[in-house]
């Protein structure tokens, strides 16, 4: 099949397949860690493309972007440079669910990321399709086990906790026949693998936006023993903004004071003129048209086999499943400053073109709209990520990593987060160092990856704050405090940046201690302050910290009776206030985390033979064999494994 006469051979450390949001972070991480890296894309003009919604962040996704940034990733910095509107969501709710979301100038975002990649040392960009992954049987008797955080201990104990997989990556081959020798490969193929797009009866075998699909790699993966499955997703139409009647719509503006995503962005640099989004609604007429044409929807007609996401329902789905709702919200969002195109958020569809036009035109403001790009559904090959370790390496192939939508996730942010971790860990693998594994108690990224590799995800996985059991600790405002240290440890965060966060940590803890140990009595001054903020008077002396626990008192207005306070930066004040105000809840979660950590630290050897653990229930045994958890904690999260099974397992391990 391949041009066999091409004898061209090149050597790299790491090959990245795909230059979407996962691929970009992966490539940058590897190259920045000093590895010779090559990134393949089917089109260099579509690097960091945003083929669906024109925004970055949102509930819990904003958290991911902050975490990527804290670890030394690029997404946050790039959106800070290219956003055209920004909003902090959920500000009326608790700090744990505040979330940044920015509308991007799509082309600007893509170009700006391309520039970063082009400017990156050790990184080569190549247009072309990788269609074969080359591996060899792994004959090395024993190498240091890289998936295990405590490998040294286990080696000393004489336990081969992580046996080598059977296979090892040695290179890839492109469609044009060139061989690229390498030590690690990261698959970030997004929705391109064997993709097909559906718009009613019209089916095209392309990736998103009509780009060329990747049709060869799937076979090579299957040959290696990788199991593939089909997922689907969809996107709404793009309108010509000139044909929209904005006078009928309600305007949605950005925040007056914009907060940047990146901890490194100067907040003043993001205060700029913003564009607006617009709100409108569907109505009974819209729904009537949809219902009348359901038989022409590929999903309802059964043409689409892939599983679609429930959290991102098409307008057809909404009308069918929520028949009692007489209208649905529709947000009209500009795709950028370079174009008139407008994204119709809330109305993704796979209905045929004529139905689309009729349906969109029933929506107020869109009566005379002209569709630039039709809405479509897309189906693609991906994997069940239970084939991966938390390091994002395949369990059965050394050096093969995967990230992004290929792993069964959805969303730019989820993809970027995995790309970064896969990139770091591919680098660690090549350098023969321990992988970076973030756990559920320290990051959304940890929750995301752990959910992907331990759950039966039957639809594209999207991040949600309800999936993080310790979400009060995993706030977007403290991502730097949580994760900078890891970025520093692997080498993506510089010394001065790391020093800065250490200093911040020190200031916060000093100020919290000071507030807890500074007492005020029922003096005239204090009483008149309390009166001024509408708070109940004091009868005995209390600490400033306990006053700060009152809802009507905040750090700023407390200054009236706190003359000795040091001059502190805003981000320190914010942390101090949160830590004191929600102390009870935060302490509770910290206790749970202690227990969680204990379970995570109890490792299970990969060569465990579950058939020898006689007292396990059959269902539990099957699940354990299928998922091969690395710790007791992870085993306990598998569905079908009961607490009793976990106890049995603990005793078995102790016995050995």
């Amino acid at each position: 099949m391949l041009p066999e006469k091409n004898v061209l051979k090149e050597d790299y450390d790491v090959v990245i397949i795909g230059a979407g949001h996962a691929g970009c972070e992966a490539a940058l991480a590897c190259a920045r860690l000093g590895l010779e890296t090559i990134i393949f894309t089917v089109s260099v003009d579509s690097i960091a493309l945003m083929p669906c919604n024109p925004n970055i962040g949102g509930s819990s996704k904003g958290h991911l972007v902050r975490e990527i940034d804290a670890l030394g990733g690029e997404m946050g910095k790039n959106i800070d440079k290219t956003f055209i509107q920004s909003k902090m969501l959920n500000v009326s709710k608790g700090p744990a669910v505040h979330s940044l979301r920015a509308q991007a100038d799509k082309q600007d975002y893509s170009r700006s990321m391309r520039k970063i990649l082009e400017g990156q040392e050790h990184l080569t960009i190549k247009q072309g399709e990788v269609c074969e992954i080359i591996w060899e049987e792994n004959n090395t008797s024993f190498t240091a086990d890289y998936n295990n955080n405590n490998s040294k201990d286990h080696l000393e104990n004489g336990l081969s906790y992580y046996k080598n997989p059977d296979k090892k990556i040695i290179g890839v081959r492109s469609y044009t026949g060139t061989t690229y020798n390498c030590k690690a490969v990261i698959i970030c193929t997004g929705t391109y693998l064997n993709a097909r797009c559906l718009c009613g009866e019209a089916i095209t075998y392309t990736g998103p936006n009509g780009l060329q699909a990747a049709t060869h790699l799937s076979d090579s993966l299957k040959e290696m023993g990788v199991e593939l499955r089909r997922f689907k997703t969809g996107t709404p139409a793009r309108m010509d903004g000139k044909t929209i009647d904005y006078s009928k719509l309600s305007e949605q503006k950005g925040d007056t004071r914009v907060i940047p995503f990146s901890f490194s962005t100067n907040p003043e640099s993001v205060q700029k003129e913003q564009v607006s989004c617009w709100l409108t609604y569907t109505n009974e007429e819209t729904h009537k048209i949809i219902r009348a044409n359901l038989d022409r929807s590929p999903i309802y007609a059964g043409i689409i086999e892939g599983t679609g996401p429930r959290y991102c329902p098409s307008i057809e789905d909404k009308v069918v499943k929520f028949a009692d709702k007489d209208r649905h919200q529709v947000f009209l969002e500009p795709e950028g400053l370079y174009t008139d195109e407008v994204y119709v958020d809330g109305m993704s569809s796979s209905l045929p073109e004529d139905v689309q036009q009729a349906m969109y035109r029933t929506v107020p403001g869109l009566e005379n709209c002209r569709i630039v790009r039709n809405a479509y559904a897309i189906e693609y090959d991906c994997i069940n990520a239970k084939q991966l370790y938390n390091s994002l390496q395949f369990k059965n192939v050394n050096g093969l990593f995967a990230a992004g939508q290929f792993n069964g996730s959805s969303g730019y942010e989820e993809a970027a987060a995995q790309g970064l971790i896969a990139g770091i860990n591919a680098a660690m693998y090549v350098k023969d160092k321990e992988p970076l594994i973030l756990d559920r108690s320290e990051s959304y990224i940890g929750v995301l990856i752990d959910d992907l590799v331990t759950k039966d995800n039957r639809e594209p996985y999207r991040m949600m704050t309800s999936k993080a059991e310790y979400r009060l600790l995993l706030r977007q405002d403290n991502a730097d405090l949580r994760l900078r240290k890891y970025g520093y440890k692997v080498g993506l965060v510089s010394q001065p940046v790391y020093d800065k966060v250490c200093e911040k940590e020190r200031l916060i803890s000093e100020e919290v201690t000071r507030l807890k140990n500074t007492f005020v009595g029922a003096s005239k001054e204090v009483l008149s302050y309390l009166d001024s903020v509408g708070s109940t008077p004091l009868t005995t002396g209390v600490s400033l910290a306990s006053l700060l626990g009152r809802p009507e008192i905040n750090y700023d207005n407390l200054s009236a009776i706190d003359k000795e306070r040091p001059l502190l930066p805003d981000d320190v004040k914010e942390q101090v206030e949160i830590e004191i105000r929600y102390e009870g809840y935060i302490e509770r979660q910290k206790k749970q985390v202690e227990h969680f950590k204990k379970m995570e630290s109890r490792k299970i050897p990969v060569d465990i033979d579950y058939d020898k653990v006689l007292s396990l229930r059959i269902e539990a045994r099957q699940r354990l064999k299928e998922f091969k958890p690395l710790s007791i904690g992870q085993a306990s999260r598998l569905s079908g494994v009961s607490p009793a099974d976990v106890s049995v397992l603990l005793i078995y391990l102790e016995k050995k």
Binding site: V97, R310, P313, T465, I651, Y652
Partner: protein, 508 residues
């Protein structure tokens, strides 16, 4: 967010470590870091002093277990404070739960390798259960099946050879405990818990949808609504705790079935026992087509009473189902009360039918009620008593009824009722019929889950009152939801996501 499959191996645990019976002694074992502190809250020596915290290891102490609430042994309060006070002798008498011997074995020289306190109290289901509840109130958690052995092994107090046995115990006992938890739950209680869980989940899903998609789903004005729902859920969980205490929660007590031919008067007997007109009583044979189930207390003893459709061959389909169910209930029963209409003629056919009936359940304990003795009397026949006995004698001659006691009975006048009570309680105390240990444990476990649920709901209420943001509510709502799940044996898994996506229409 769901905190699933919590496996705690550092909490202090407690359980009854002897078989439950009406006599002898009962031992409650407490193990863990806080074992001594916990028991010290509720144990005083005869001079009214709390002495356990100063007790040397491997010592045994005489004194009283006192009621935790009355002793103000509030677990929230500082443990040292207030425990120096001596409790007056007269007060001890009032608040003592039991007189007992308590032994203290400190880590690591104990069965589990942790601090262990054993309370030797008087046997008897009631006392042992009450002492255990006091220990749980003071901060211990009910031990999981096999958990003491598990800790013993993990702390190196058992050798490797025993590991396999420990694993077996854990796995088999957990399985049966879970089954017991679900199967012993009475149908109406199970329905109530499911309904309560559904309502809680719906509200969590609503909050989470709004957090996830604030531009589509608004929480404006939600607090007031939630606040009144939480109030009603707290009330509901308290009602459930009450019904747990009164024994109506579980299919507790001796599983008892009323069997007899159609129109032998089973339903009337049942109504007499219940003291209310529960089953439909008519003179037409075959009125009870289904089985009726009720929990009653006869003196000290609980009966789980099932009235059945009369056993006879029938062509009527509906009735046939009832008859099949009757046979099934009888198969599962601990005790069968045969109701026989003494005014019958006892033809050869009748006798054969009785024979079949007794033979089918020959392994079961039984009592025979010779019902409608008043009718015989009404008909002013000579030598009524003898007539009845002769008839019954005929019956017994013909078939083997084992050693079933026979009682002349009238559901109308209540004749024989006292005798029936006496016979049943004699059977119970002699151990012929026994409510199983498992039932008692399940009952305590359920109570603990219900209390957890209520406490979590109280926290939600507190958060609402303190004006905390909505995302804090769902943390405790989720705990309440999962506590209830433990009772009916349902895991959380993807409940929340499913609820969110099926009930709320999210934006993109």
């Amino acid at each position: 967010m769901p905190e699933k499959k919590y496996m705690s191996d550092y909490e202090t645990i407690a359980a009854i470590s002897t078989a439950l019976s009406e006599s002898g002694i009962g031992i409650i074992r407490v193990s863990g870091d806080d074992a001594v502190r916990i028991v010290n809250r509720i144990f005083v020596n005869p001079s009214g002093k709390r002495i356990l915290n100063k007790a040397a290891t491997h010592t045994i102490h005489y004194g009283f277990i006192i009621d935790a609430d009355s002793a103000k042994a509030d677990i929230e309060s500082d443990y040292e404070a207030g425990f120096e006070d001596t409790i007056d002798r007269n007060i001890i008498k009032k608040i003592a739960v039991d007189e007992c011997l308590v032994s203290v074995m400190l880590a690591p020289r104990s069965f589990t390798g942790e601090n262990v306190v054993e309370i030797n109290c008087h046997g008897g289901v009631f006392v042992v259960k009450k002492v255990l509840s006091e220990v749980l109130k003071c901060g211990a958690r009910l031990a999981e099946p096999g958990e003491f052995s598990k800790r013993a092994f993990l702390n190196g107090r058992m050798d490797l050879a025993e590991a396999e046995a420990v694993m077996n115990v854990i796995s088999s006992k957990s399985d049966s405990a879970l089954k017991a938890s679900v199967s012993q739950l009475s149908g109406s209680v199970s329905e109530k818990i499911k309904k309560l869980r559904e309502e809680i989940l719906y509200n969590i899903a609503f909050i989470e949808s709004a957090l996830d998609d604030p531009e589509h789903i608004s929480l404006d004005g939600y607090n007031d609504k939630l606040s009144s729902s939480v109030d009603s859920w707290i009330k509901e969980s308290e009602r459930l705790i009450e019904s747990n205490d009164s024994g109506r929660f579980l299919r507790e007590g001796i599983a008892t079935v009323l069997l007899g031919k159609p129109n032998a008067g089973k339903s009337s007997v049942m109504n007499l026992l219940l003291g209310e007109d529960r089953a439909i009583v008519t003179d037409i044979a075959g009125t009870t087509r289904d089985t009726l189930e009720e929990y009653i207390k006869l003196g000290e003893i609980g009966l789980n009473l099932v009235d059945t459709a009369g056993i006879r061959e029938t062509d009527n389909k509906v009735e046939q189902i009832g008859v099949d169910r009757a046979k099934k209930s009888a198969d599962k029963a601990d005790l069968i009360i045969y109701v026989i209409d003494i005014t019958e003629d006892f033809s050869q056919d009748d006798i054969r039918e009785y024979e079949d009936m007794f033979n089918s359940f020959s392994g079961k304990k039984g009592i025979i009620l010779l019902n409608k003795i008043d009718d015989l009397k009404k008909n002013s026949l000579e030598n009524i008593k003898e007539y009845g006995l002769i008839k019954a004698g005929k019956l017994i001659e013909g078939i083997n009824t084992g050693s079933y006691p026979m009682i002349e009975f009238s559901a109308v006048t209540g004749e024989g009722f006292e005798e029936l009570k006496n016979i049943i309680s004699e059977m119970f105390f002699k151990g012929i019929c026994n409510g199983s240990d498992e039932v008692v444990i399940t009952n305590i476990r359920h109570r603990q889950c219900l209390e957890e649920c209520r406490d979590s709901l109280l926290k939600v209420k507190e958060s609402i009152e303190n004006d905390l943001p909505e995302d804090f509510y769902s943390i405790d709502l989720m705990s309440a939801y999962s506590s209830l799940g433990k009772i009916i044996g349902e895991e959380i898994e993807d409940d929340l996501a499913t609820e969110i996506f099926s009930k709320f229409c999210l934006g993109k």
